[in-house]
């Protein structure tokens, strides 16, 4: 049985037209990937009142530590009177949000464009 190893998370960040930052992780948002997301959120929240969308379309798997990094992002952004929205979660991400009842804390949007609307 041969496996080609694939390391955890890569992140791309871009500025949307409305000034919000779109953070797009790709890969596993787990105990190995969570610190990488935290670094990206730190960079995105340097400005006052940050507006951030995390695009979850490329996240193949999330675990409780990965969710913890999203909760940390939410607290960090709210402490600066900013706003965080989640977009395009995969089915696995939605299942974990539901298992932990965090779907009540993180209403998510179907697409990045929807998340950016009104942000």
């Amino acid at each position: 049985m041969l496996f080609r190893l694939q390391m955890a998370l890569e992140i791309q960040t871009r500025q949307a037209d409305n000034g919000a930052t779109v953070v797009a992780p790709t890969g596993r948002l787990d105990v190995a990937g969570a610190p990488i997301l935290k670094d990206a959120i730190n960079d995105a929240t340097v400005a006052g009142s940050p507006k951030v969308v995390i695009d979850l379309e490329g996240v193949s798997f999330v675990d409780s530590t990965g969710l913890g990094s999203v909760i940390a992002a939410l607290k960090q952004i709210r402490s600066k009177e900013g706003e965080l929205r989640l977009a395009a979660p995969t089915q696995q991400v939605r299942v974990v949000l539901e298992l932990t009842t965090l779907d009540r804390v993180f209403p998510y949007y179907a697409t990045v464009e929807e998340a950016l609307t009104g942000l």
């Binding site: 049985m1 496996f3 190893l5 694939q6 390391m7 955890a8 596993r28 787990d30 105990v31 190995a32 798997f61 675990d63 409780s64 530590t65 969710l67 913890g68 990094s69 909760i71 940390a72 607290k75 089915q91 696995q92 299942v95 974990v96 298992l99 932990t100 009842t101 965090l102 009540r104 804390v105």
Partner: protein
């Protein structure tokens, strides 16, 4: 189960966290292919979530600093039920076994509560300085 009844076994010794977790997920993908289940098969998805939680804990805490101990990982399927075992030499975990799901503000402490809620059985034993985790889910 009415589908594929094929048996399956995978064994590995895991060391580093990131490649170890990758190998766990790839073993599950291989089981999914063997059983010809779709990517969104819910029982397999839940089993993979539990594997990720326990595997992440074991790889993070099960290899004492300054040692080169490996984590032994075994995944089996007998035609009805998936079973996984992790064997490590980390600290005893008894005090964490009954952790409840923390509040929404907490950034940690959900892993075992998630695994317990979605597995048919989550077993833990400690013999000497060896921990054994046993995860069971009927597929």
């Amino acid at each position: 189960m009415e589908g594929n009844q094929e048996k399956f076994e995978f064994r590995a010794f895991l060391t580093e966290v990131d490649p170890g977790l990758d190998l766990i997920h790839r073993s599950l993908a291989n089981l999914r292919d063997t059983l010809e289940r779709p990517v969104d098969d819910r029982p397999l998805m839940l089993f993979e979530i539990a594997l990720g939680e326990i595997g992440g804990n074991v790889l993070t805490h099960g290899r004492p600093v300054g040692t080169d101990h490996q984590v032994e990982y075994v995944l089996r399927y007998d035609g009805h039920t998936a079973e996984a075992t992790f064997t490590d030499r980390g600290a005893a975990a008894h005090e964490h076994l009954t952790n409840e799901m923390p509040g929404h503000e907490s950034e940690r402490g959900r892993g075992l509560a998630i695994a317990r809620s979605i597995l048919d059985q989550l077993g833990y034993e400690r013999h000497g300085d060896v921990n054994s985790w046993h995860l069971v889910k009927r597929l």
